[in-house]
Amino acid sequence: MATRPLTLYEKIWNAHVVETRDDGTSLIYIDRHLVHEVTSPQAFEALRAAGRPVRRPDLTLAVPDHNLPTTARLDAAGNRLPIADPQSAAQLAALECNAPEFGIEYIGPTDAAQGIVHVVGPEQGFSLPGATIVCGDSHTAAHGGIGALAFGIGTSEVEHVLATQTLLLTRSKTMEVRVTGELRPGITPKDLILHVIGVIGTAGGTGYVIEYRGPVFEAMSVEGRLTVCNMSIEGGARAGLIAPDDKVFDYLKGRPHAPTGSDWDRAVEWWRSLATDPGAQFDKSVTIDAADIEPTVTWGTSPEDVAPIGAVVPAPESYADPSKQEAVRKSLAYMGLEPGQRLSDVAIENVFIGSCTNSRIEDLRAAADVLRGRHKAANVKWAIVVPGSGLVKAQAEAEGLDKVFTDAGLEWREPGCSACLAMNPDKVPAGERCASTSNRNFVGRQGPGARTHLVSPAMAAAAAVTGKLTDVRELVG
């Protein structure tokens, strides 16, 4: 029987349907569930109250990341240091109690493998291509970079997955973001995804799963793909996908929870069959010319507020929509920027290199390449590098990157979410700017009153050196 050509999304979806109901919703099996300390306590509490067990603790992995301080976690004698903030400590304590109580593997704050869940999942081989992966965190979309259908869920859904290992879902529409041509020298995956969000807008992907297609993604490293898919949610899409290929298989092979032996061979065979079939139809298609992408920065308080580093701050009147004009006025007032001001003249006082978007080894290497032999500018008061996991940290130290950062006047920290959302002590002071490799420039995201400019790791490093937003190509290359 001839079958209609299918997209990557449809193939993964079809392989996970437990049953489809008369109303069109489907019960979808969840292969991997990552749990962190912020969005899980209420879910475990509900299970406990109802006397319900976790159906598949073996498909669940718990890692604290959001609240953890990024300062030393052990004292000189090797004893674990307490967390000063009592609420953060209580959240961590809840996870440390819930994980063993429900039989879930737990990677704690002093474990060498601890890190941001979205860095740890692929790194441990827990996240796999073609798998359905969820976590109570919207940046779960990141795992789409290895070809998994991965998306963020709320706490009620965390409870639902813990109890049933399924979710009741409606099939999403599909959107193709096709990037043609090649990226110009010095242009990174972060520049690309910021540019894409600028084109489609923060609601452009609502109701869709995005598949990123084209030679740019085939040439891109696995780390770069994770960065791109990570920010799908900033474009409104709950999930983003890139077809898995040999780069992904090489990346995963031999990792602690990756399949082995004949399981591995069978897995690779299936993974190879997942790519979108020729002629498959998408509900929406957007084409972007890679040559149009410049080093990109945000100037406002929405991730769609992007511009090339060579541009000026836009005027509210340059937008047709009156409500967007008003939003831009509010953004510029919050950001302390004037229309017409050159972005490359904007001075910054803080630099944050980290987050689930940009804290993998390749990101740290890119930042270190700019900082090597240089020093942060005098007006940069606070600059921290937060590796995505303990394993990334160890790798960076083996390569001497930590020394490059500290020699340049940056602080080298312990892994966690850190100043991306400032739930731990790492915050940007009110009224100050931060060149940040994170994913959201929302009002107050990096601390009350903090002004965030989203950039790539290389651009953050360049800003640290010059003390202002800077085209990194002026420093290197």
């Binding site: 903030d85 779960t140 409870e159 923060t202 082995t260 299936w270």
Partner: protein, 200 residues
Amino acid sequence: MEPVDSVEGRAIPFGRKNVDTDVIIPAHWLKTITREGLGAGAFETVRAEPGNVFDDPEFANAPILIAGDNFGCGSSREHAAWALLDLGIKAVIAPSFSDIFSGNAFKNGILTVALPQEQVDRLLEVAASDPVTIDLENQVVTTPFQDRFTFEIDPFRKHCLMEGLDEVGLTLARDTAIDTYEKRQASDMPWLAHGTERAA
């Protein structure tokens, strides 16, 4: 969950577009291990603005919130829904919602009603002085001025909301189907069946 069949009363005419989850409830409020008490942090940055609608006594205890496009974009934090509930908000009307937020709202019995921008504009106008009624059974929003705006809602969500159903309980009743799927997967895709425990 309490069954919902209608929501009526004053509506907070917020109207703003792209209201993200950090605006609904800033991250420093997420360090709780319960679902209660988040109303105190709801819209913290908006409430710092003089003359904001949330602190206008006219809208005290209003059960409806009216917002602009793409309400609830950003994070998956269900704390956003809990914060609205804690404020006494039982329904949000907007031209569109982020996917994750509308799911979280639904799971907490909050109705999300998507209407075209011009109808939302009309409701913002009415809300300044008069109440709004959302009739879930008939899928219609009405005002004292003969406005009558119908809306779409997923039939399953409508059913759950009107009956106050526990979705986890409903799915647990499908245990046999899940067992069957797991057996098939263990045979067809064994690498997926081994998560943190490796096959011997």
